[in-house]
């Protein structure tokens, strides 16, 4: 694709979000993502953006997919996380497992999908009590992002399984990506399909590892929008008779974050730097930027209505869900040192 095509794509995503995401963004935070948004997003080809066309996907190139994630995150990080889950995690895994039918369902938005992957994070000590026998699962999955999804991929004794729906979910306190939620998922003699014999953990870990730039694109969108909101607010909000933007610390900090946003963008889109380098920087930037953006809004920033506090919650959550976990940092260290390091 040439630069004009990317620009057009970006405008398309922005227009879609302005029409279909922005207006329901707050509602989504409070009540979860409505299923019609998945369908609308499906008509745009966003849900299976990188899947093969033969499977109903859009087979977009990397830059296009990253663009979609970034722009979606600007309107609603929850929506961007939905797309990331459909494409980068569930999509990649299901496609690898040859589940072309499910890819088609995801592509159209007829079905939504999730993969339980937080149990693989070394910071998780939640214990599972799943039992699978005769193609039926009983027990509880812990800490599932988007527990209400139609298709639930999970790991059991290093095999991957697919469940269609669940027998109940138990919501957990959820800091970010509230549109998807977080909860435990209950199975009672639930029919499940085995996707892979052994090596399941590696499949999920590979999908997560491959999603480094994509997670960074979400962080970029969060950074960009929250800082833009703060820039706009600082133009109109006055204190001591002057707009906030006239004060050095406000203007300098926000300008500094725009600079870092550009730096991150050039790294994500235009450099060959490895994903492992980018993700920690991206999530860190998002966290720092959203904190300042909220602070610039003062008391209003603390209210959901103003739409800036969600970026503060989501950036933190992104950095917990996707790193930089210590294992990411260890991977990065291994690259730098060319040998094991950071093990104590």
């Amino acid at each position: 694709m040439d630069q004009d095509s990317y620009r057009m794509l970006r405008e398309n995503v922005d227009e879609f979000c302005a029409r279909n995401v922005e207006p329901v963004s707050l509602k989504m935070e409070r009540e979860g993502m409505a299923s019609d948004l998945a369908k609308k997003s499906g008509t745009q080809g966003f849900n299976a953006a990188i899947a093969a066309q033969s499977n109903g996907g859009s087979a977009l190139d990397r830059e296009s997919y990253l663009t979609i994630l970034e722009r979606a995150a600007r309107s609603s990080p929850s929506f961007a996380m939905f797309l990331l889950m459909q494409n980068s995690i569930a999509g990649r895994i299901l496609e690898a497992a040859g589940k072309t039918g499910e890819i088609g369902e995801i592509a159209s938005g007829a079905k939504t999908a999730t993969v339980e992957f937080l149990s693989l994070n070394e910071s998780s000590s939640a214990e599972y009590s799943i039992n699978v026998s005769n193609g039926k699962a009983t027990g509880k999955l812990r800490n599932v992002i988007f527990p209400s999804a139609d298709l639930i991929v999970f790991l059991h004794q290093d095999s991957l399984y697919l469940a269609r729906g669940s027998d109940g979910t138990e919501p957990l306190p959820v800091l970010g990506f509230r549109g998807l939620g977080l909860g435990d998922v209950v199975f009672r003699d639930r029919p499940v399909e085995k996707l892979s014999e052994n090596g399941g953990a590696k499949l999920i870990m590979d999908a997560l590892k491959n999603a480094g730039r994509e997670v960074s694109a979400v962080a970029l969108g969060i950074t960009g929008r929250s800082v833009d909101m703060a820039v706009e607010y600082s133009r109109v909000r006055k204190t001591f008779g002057r707009p906030l933007k006239d004060y050095e610390p406000v203007a300098f900090q926000l300008a500094g974050f725009k600079a870092q946003e550009e730096e991150l963008r050039s790294m994500i889109f235009f450099s060959s730097v490895q994903d492992g380098y980018i993700k920690p920087l991206a999530t860190d930037l998002a966290r720092r930027a959203t904190k300042i953006a909220l602070q610039v809004h003062g008391g209003y920033g603390y209210l959901e209505d103003f739409g800036v506090e969600k970026f503060y919650r989501d950036s933190m959550t992104l950095s917990i869900y996707f790193g930089p976990s210590r294992s990411d940092m260890r991977n990065l260290s291994r690259e730098v040192y060319g040998e094991e390091s950071g093990v104590i």
Binding site: R30, L118, N121, E122, S123, S124, S125, A126, N143, L172, P173, V174, L175, L182, R237, K238, T239, F240, G241, P249, R287, K291, L294, Q295, G298, G299, G301, Y302, L303, E304, D305, E309, Y312, R313, M316, T317, S319, I320, Y321, S325, R326, M329, I344
Partner: protein, 368 residues
């Protein structure tokens, strides 16, 4: 120098902690957070059990710390019914003290402080709500924003403009305004990031008639009264910060303990634990120093502002670090609420930015 609490204070701290641990269970805290409901019963119980003891400011500070350590939303709710009391105590007439403060001190009524206005914030002297004298009354018109206890308090200490002619902050006066006065309306603000058990409202004042005896002190001195009050209340906000920080730290340690040595002995984790502990220690000391000066009637506004700023930053820093070191376990626990709660401390009662300006101006003045 002496850095220790008296035995009585240590005992009181244990009592407050015991109360909070008993009453603020994880389930209760989550419920009030979810429902955004003011915990009236908890407030009454805290009063009845003398966890709130207004006769000793150290006890107030300790109670705030220990209650917020368990849960900030509930802790602040239980300790904030007196918010603004010092303005009447220091500057109000005997009539006002008797009529309004007595029921508050008896746990029978709630009060609030109404200073901030929509679009206002840090610029107190720029406020626009007016009080116009008519006979023996003042007529108040305008609006107030982000008012704690706004939709539940029986009355407010309210700062309004009584003169357009005077220099900005000389034209302000403080009144006691009852919520049952005709023309008073409160709209509860829903959907806060954190401290969701606390009550916050926007107030509308539409030709509210306030009797002249409800003027606190002298006309035109309201700005000074409120600034004096903030130099007191900031210490208690610092106490909220220490409490939140300590509470987040407790929870992080308990999760780390559960995870076992192989996880918690990693150097990254250990470094984070040390950073948290050190900053909490520092925040505590500045707060106690500011409190010690104030409670001995020699307040130091510079140190008070340092305490507010530093304790607020500490709450935010520790809540963040606590999530970092506990990861998935932490974010699916009560720690996520601490993270949301902490942020308000850098905003209310003087943003960190305002505190910094106060500190710096005082220092540059002294240095000249």
């Amino acid at each position: 120098m002496d850095f220790d609490f008296t035995e009585e204070q240590v005992k009181f701290r244990e009592k407050a902690r015991e109360f909070a641990e008993r009453e603020f269970s994880s389930e209760v805290a989550r419920k009030f957070d979810r429902e955004e409901k003011y915990p009236e019963e908890i407030r009454k119980k805290a009063y009845a059990e003398h966890v709130i003891d207004y006769s000793d400011p150290w006890k107030v500070l300790i109670a705030i710390e220990e209650l917020c350590r368990q849960d900030a939303g509930l802790g602040i709710s239980a300790t904030v019914p007196y918010f603004g009391e010092e303005v009447i105590m220091l500057f109000g007439s005997d009539h006002l003290k008797e009529k309004y403060l007595q029921p508050v001190n008896e746990g029978k009524s709630l009060m609030g402080l109404a200073v901030t206005e929509p679009g206002g914030g840090s610029d107190v002297a720029g406020l626009k709500t007016t009080a116009r004298k008519e006979g023996k009354n003042y007529i108040i018109n305008g609006a107030k924003m982000f008012i704690t206890n706004g939709s539940i308090a029986d009355f407010f200490v309210m700062l309004v403009r009584t003169s357009e002619e005077e220099k900005r902050h000389h034209g302000l006066s403080a009144f006691v305004v009852e919520s049952r006065f005709p023309g008073f309306k409160a709209n509860k603000l829903k959907g806060k990031l954190g401290v969701r058990a606390t009550d916050t409202a926007e107030l509308e004042l539409n030709n509210v008639v306030v009797p002249e005896e409800n003027l606190i002190g002298e006309e035109g001195k309201g700005f000074y009264y409120i600034m004096t009050f903030f130099n007191i209340s900031r210490i208690f906000v610092a106490g909220q910060g220490i409490g939140i920080a300590q509470g987040a730290f407790d929870r992080a340690l308990s999760i780390l303990r559960r995870k076992g040595k192989a996880y918690s002995e990693k150097e990254e984790i250990q470094f984070a634990v040390a950073e948290m502990a050190t900053q909490i220690q520092a925040a505590r000391l500045i707060t106690y120093k500011a409190a010690s000066y104030l409670f001995n009637f020699k307040p130091d506004p510079t140190i008070t502002s340092m305490a507010k700023k530093y304790a607020a930053e500490t709450a935010v820093f520790v809540a963040e670090k606590a999530l970092e070191v506990t990861g998935v376990d932490g974010i699916s626990s009560d720690l996520e609420r601490f993270y949301r709660d902490a942020k308000i401390l850098e905003i209310w009662e003087g943003t960190s930015e305002v505190e910094k300006l106060i500190i710096s101006r005082n220092i540059l003045k002294e240095a000249q």
